[in-house]
């Protein structure tokens, strides 16, 4: 299995067709021992005694975009929130299994909770800049929240690069002192991306980041996501199948059968999921028969 991993780091379109066969050994079970990137092994989730997710195995490869797709209520957002320990914020929530960042268990390991969340950033469905802060303060808020001390020069540097990487620098460089809420919806979402980037995370989780935005803002965010994937691992939950096709390299299809917890039906290269899925249900979903 470890051979697959070395292959994947050099993956490109020509190689993947041979690689993906070995990644997947059966539907719903995709797992590679990966020292880098984010991996989930046998993850199940509960809210109280209700099991909402069962036996999820998934490797999110470093410096790639992995999309999580599936109908509403299939557990994909819940799964995303387990990846940076946001799941446990819900009272009564619990989980089982193992999630590793670069080979370290984020739940049982030595890394403190706040460090986990700093290394694995998150962008939410609706843009949520801090209203009491200016644009600049918003970008730098993560430094303040996680207690990172930087000097003035470094701070300005972080501010500029984060905004540039989020594709917002040009639009806001002359109005950094305005409140974050003064921006349009799409700009606010890119501000939230810049805010996440400022603490230099290794992974960025995105929970339907475009669902509250108009089509042109959506397009901008998608471009940003693609540019970012050169330097950061991205996991994105989306309802929009065109979006999954446009931005992601890998794709996992979640489904919850009636009165059953959600499971991964199929995980593979995005190209393959959308053209030649192996599972009947995947085919039905991607061709728009339900969900």
């Amino acid at each position: 299995m470890s051979t697959i991993n070395t292959q994947s780091t050099t993956s490109n379109t020509s190689q993947t067709s041979s690689g993906d066969q070995s990644i997947i050994h059966s539907a719903g079970e995709v797992f590679i021992e990966s020292p880098r990137g984010l991996s989930a092994r046998n993850v199940s989730c509960w809210f109280g005694e209700k099991k909402v997710l069962e036996g999820v195995n998934l490797v999110m490869r470093p410096l790639e975009v992995t999309a999580l797709i599936g109908p509403s209520g299939c557990g994909k957002s819940t799964f995303l929130r387990t990846l940076n320990r946001m799941h446990e914020l819900v009272p009564g929530a619990s989980l089982a299994g193992e999630i590793q960042l670069n080979g370290d268990d984020i739940y049982r390991g030595a890394m403190p909770l706040t460090e986990v969340r700093r290394h694995i950033g998150m962008v939410f469905q609706k843009p949520n800049p801090f209203p009491a802060m200016t644009i600049a303060e918003n970008v730098l808020s993560g430094l303040r929240l996680s207690g990172l001390k930087v000097d003035r020069h470094e701070r300005d540097d972080i501010l500029e690069t984060s905004l540039k990487r989020a594709g917002l620098w040009k639009e806001v460089k002359d109005r950094l002192g305005e409140p974050g809420r003064a921006l349009s919806g799409g700009q606010q979402q890119r501000l939230c991306i810049a805010r996440s980037l400022a603490v230099k995370p290794q992974v960025l989780l995105m929970d339907e980041p475009c669902s509250a935005l108009d089509p042109s803002s959506t397009r901008r965010i998608e471009e940003t996501v693609q540019e970012l994937s050169d330097t950061i691992t991205i996991v994105i939950v989306t309802h929009n199948m065109q979006q999954a096709q446009r931005v992601s390299k890998f794709c996992a299809f979640f489904l919850a059968e009636e009165n059953q917890p959600g499971r991964i039906v199929e995980a593979d290269l995005t190209a393959k999921i959308f053209t030649t899925p192996r599972d009947e249900r995947t085919n039905a979903y991607v061709s728009g028969h339900f969900g």
Partner: protein, 334 residues
């Protein structure tokens, strides 16, 4: 093509339907009665102000502006009278109460909304409400018999060791006798704080509970601790609620009567120290002097009551403006 079509259409004069509602008799009676009931509030407020002014007019005419500065109370004998000392004492007691109540209320409101396990939040809220339901008479009794003997040791310690601060000054040389610190502004303020805490807590709890979840999660996802979330999201969001809650508490404290009456020994000369025996408040003045006043005295008490009424109205008007100005939860639908 399409624009011209629209134009031609809009040339036609539109006849709007006048929406006329014909209500049946019971409906009209219902609306009339409800409206009348709604206006009793207005009528009552005007009557309260009017009657106090009318009854206090003779005293106010006699004393003039010196009513606000005179430090004595002898209207019955035709002597001078004024709230020159009583009003500052009233404010001092309220400020002591706020100084204690506001930090504790903020912390309690944060506890209920942010720290407490979900299932004990409702019972906790009920307990805070119960704290508000206990009559001020009972707080006063408890303060007089239980709390005062314990509080004056603190007062004495402050007077002995921190007496160089004017606020804690005790007359005479140290060591002071313990009795010198009874019936003080400080003791009254502590007891009043017990009545202010539930009010402040419930205002602040409501505001903190509306702090948008999305922003709180964003702060956590950036690696923030719970305190980080509170400092950067919850407290900035709740600033209006904190100030407004404190102002409402101030209004409550200014008007508190029975607990203060039971505890203080009335003084009509100003003193700055809050630890030293002797204090006063407008409400306590009215409660204590009422039964022993003649017509002149009653008129003077009415004038004092008017001053208290106007003061609490002012404080509450400011409070409602501040609370109303705060960012309402309705704007953020996260």
């Amino acid at each position: 093509m399409i624009p011209t079509q629209e134009q031609t259409e809009s040339v036609v004069p539109e006849e709007r339907i006048e929406i006329a509602v014909r209500r049946d008799v019971p409906d009209r009676i219902y609306r009339g009665v409800a409206t009348a009931a709604g206006f009793t509030t207005l009528a009552l407020m005007a009557l309260i102000g009017g009657f106090l002014l009318f009854r206090g007019a003779s005293a106010l005419r006699k004393a003039g502006f010196s009513f606000l500065t005179t430090e004595m109370w002898a209207p019955d004998q035709g002597g001078d009278f004024g709230i020159g000392a009583v009003l500052p004492y009233t404010i001092q007691i309220s400020l002591v109460a706020l100084f204690i109540a506001v930090p504790i209320s903020i912390a309690t409101a944060l506890f209920i909304t942010q720290y407490a396990p979900t299932r004990i939040r409702r019972p906790l809220t009920s307990l805070v409400d119960l704290l508000a339901a206990i009559p001020s008479l009972i707080y006063g009794l408890w303060g007089l018999f239980y709390l005062q003997p314990r509080l004056i040791t603190v007062g004495k310690w402050m007077g002995d060791n921190l007496g160089w601060i004017p606020l804690f000054k005790a007359s005479g040389p140290a060591p002071h006798s313990i009795g010198q610190f009874a019936a003080s502004t400080f003791v009254a303020g502590v007891v009043v704080s017990l009545m202010v805490i539930p009010l402040c807590t419930s205002v602040m709890r409501e505001v903190f509970a509306q702090a948008p979840m999305g922003e709180q999660e964003a702060a956590l996802a950036l690696g923030g601790t719970k305190w980080g979330v509170i400092r950067d999201v919850v407290l900035p969001f709740g600033r209006g609620g904190i100030i407004g809650g404190a102002m409402l508490g101030l209004g409550r404290a200014l008007g508190e009567t029975i607990a203060v009456t039971l505890i203080i020994s009335p003084m009509f000369v100003r003193q700055f120290s809050i630890m030293e025996q002797g204090s006063n408040s407008i409400a306590a003045l009215i409660a204590l002097k009422f039964s022993e006043s003649n017509a002149n005295g009653i008129s003077a008490l009415m004038a004092a009551g008017l001053a208290l009424f106007l003061l609490t109205l002012l404080v509450n008007a400011i409070a409602s403006v501040i609370v109303g100005k705060g960012r309402s939860g309705a704007q953020t639908e996260i």
